[in-house]
Symmetry: D3
Subunit: 162 residues, 6 copies
């Protein structure tokens, strides 16, 4: 059964937060291989391009030997199948997260019954950190250096006002 536990951790990561990073570290201990999968989201306006997001992720997970970073578009279940992954990893913080996650998990199971979604809890210190809030606080001039990895702080500063 070796190698069977390839797991995908999908998200927009626009930008990566310490909450994401905490979950990646937890997942890396449980699964043989963890692929952080950046949703390209062509339709939506993102602050950072998919390439910028990938660069920040790669820099932040390089200490984790069994974690790789890729970007994808199209259906998540199809990307998982291409990668031979059997698990989608998701972090849940609040109850309202959970509801949405539940619907997605059931739909993904419908689309590909062999693919399981597993949920893990980020550390409590990150229970309220989201990419959206980080961007809002930064935009209003607040300090986000406790909320995101150092490379994200740098890149936000390089962007200037957002």
């Amino acid at each position: 059964m070796s190698g069977r536990n390839i797991s995908i951790y999908p998200g927009s990561f626009d930008p990566l937060t310490n909450g994401h990073l905490d979950l990646i570290e937890r997942g890396a201990k449980l699964f043989d291989q963890l692929i952080v999968a950046i949703l390209r989201n062509e339709g939506k306006t993102s602050l950072f391009t998919a390439d910028e997001r990938k660069e920040m992720l790669c820099a932040s997970v390089k200490h984790l030997a069994n974690v790789s970073v890729e970007s994808f578009d199209g259906l998540l279940v199809r990307f998982a199948a291409e990668k031979g992954a059997r698990v989608i990893l998701r972090g849940i913080r609040a109850v309202s997260d959970y509801e949405f996650e539940l619907q997605m998990a059931l739909m993904n199971r419908k689309l590909q019954p062999e693919l399981e979604t597993v949920f893990m809890l980020p550390g409590e210190a990150y229970s309220y950190v989201s990419s959206r809030l980080v961007k809002e606080i930064y935009r209003l001039g607040g300090d986000v250096s406790d909320l995101v990895p150092p490379i994200v702080v740098e890149r936000l500063k390089a962007k200037g006002s957002i």
Copy 2:
């Protein structure tokens, strides 16, 4: 990293339902070894003794090579440590389940930070099946043969009125 994924699926299993069994089967695919851990619950009144519950579980999971059944009392985190388990597996159905599970998971992380709780979803057909409802329906003369494994139906009948 071989053998690292020993997982514990704890519960009262009084009695085992098809929802539990569905989750055990899903977990058995993800983890190298899955220990179904019956909480003895000495203080509470249970319908079946821990030994009876273990017998029904063993009979129902014998087709799963990497699943074993044990009973425990005391702290779950201590039992997990004795077994070298790094994961607690829990099924979540409803939002109210989730809240309780979240509190337990955070407390268990506090008691033993290395132990992770992961959540999986049972099949939708089992989203409303609980041991409590099964007992209630059986007690009122309803048919529970779609809700529990055959051996549980037998043993309920052997008990007579409950």
Copy 3:
């Protein structure tokens, strides 16, 4: 299609509250016939006997021509079938109510697929009134005359301290 809309409103009604009564009045406008079904609950300790609860209900719904009161034990779905009812009526107040109600409704659908559960909202003034709270407040010497029909106030007083 005449007579097809026989509806059952089940509960313990220990005791009847103004919130129950509000829902009965709303249901009576929607269904051809509404049967208020008192769960006898032999196992549990109730404040009022099933007969006392029935008497208070009958007195409180006598202005509603298409409402009758009965008591039952055993499975609700079986009682509904005996009565030719196709609908179970339930009031929902809070989200936590809803979760439990959802599980019951799915289980009842499993046991008898033709039986539908429909949910209605009691008036907002009753959103926090429950039999349990009424008993607690009365027990502590509080005034419950705004929370229950007059006959329930009388009968509580006749009981003395509870």
Copy 4:
């Protein structure tokens, strides 16, 4: 009291899903007449025009003698009054649905106290199906033929990429 149970099932239906259809079938058994009411939503961008949505709905409910399809704009309570309807029918799936539905129901009761909102549960197989998810999956090249009626699959294909 004949004819009193005219019920309205409002929505955008952009597009109709099997979950909607399941609920329409359940509602058609309970009410004398069920009007599926398509919200025109002039302000919002919809994938299908109100006329296209109506055509797909008409084709999909033609086996239900007491169901008709109309479109409306303006206040739902006003449309209901024009139709002589006393009931708004809504399906609830998740807890977060329920919260929003509750607010709408209380507001509609405020605007027109005689109009009741009743909630029913779609079949579990549809608990995670929404128009939004269907469009998303189709857009990404996924197969939606289990999620929507055949005519919707056809019309999506006729649209090409969306």
Copy 5:
């Protein structure tokens, strides 16, 4: 300890509703000074300008001696610090409100640990009233005079169709 209880009640108030006003009146009884803080929200499209919103608020709270109205942009915690406020007051209605409010409160505590968020409940009659719903109902030609203060009705009428 006099003067220590300066409290901030932040919001968009686009427009002020009777629910907001109810909460302001409750808060004014508890705190020595209550500052209603209008978020300017330059980025978003609002129906009324910040100045119009301020004017309607001032007119509606002039009977409350310890309530003042200001507008701000930037971080709420910074505005609170400038004002010497130690409390942020928020109203909670529904569970989904609460979740979002919880995340904001934890984030604000992270940004400024001395600032506490306290939650109060608006009167039940306002539990479903939101600015968004008020605008929607008005836009569709409904009567909102029970939902907002008289000056807001006037100003909506002055705007004409919205």
Copy 6:
């Protein structure tokens, strides 16, 4: 308006946890006077008597000049009236807490409209700590010294096995 902010923090405190203590410290900063009110709960079995609970509380809050400890039975709203309190303080952790708290707050407002309930958030580190869990962990031989004040650890040890 001096002295108007007498606040009551009610609970069973069986036993006091660090989460309770955190909330008392937060409340003490906001209100002129904070009365910790121990519900005697004569009917229920408690681990510690009301006097023992009071002693542990007094020892743990003696550094807070404006906090006093009392015990009460009967209706909370009556106790609040006797004390001239206008505020009930409650901590909320999880969504399920919130629902129950909401019902109690609305009922208490009904019983005494002048009395307001305000909610505050305990520190995140305590979000999962409850008296029930503390007792459970202690009973199973776990270490609770991070979860409760030192005097509670002592008194639990003095009780021996519980």
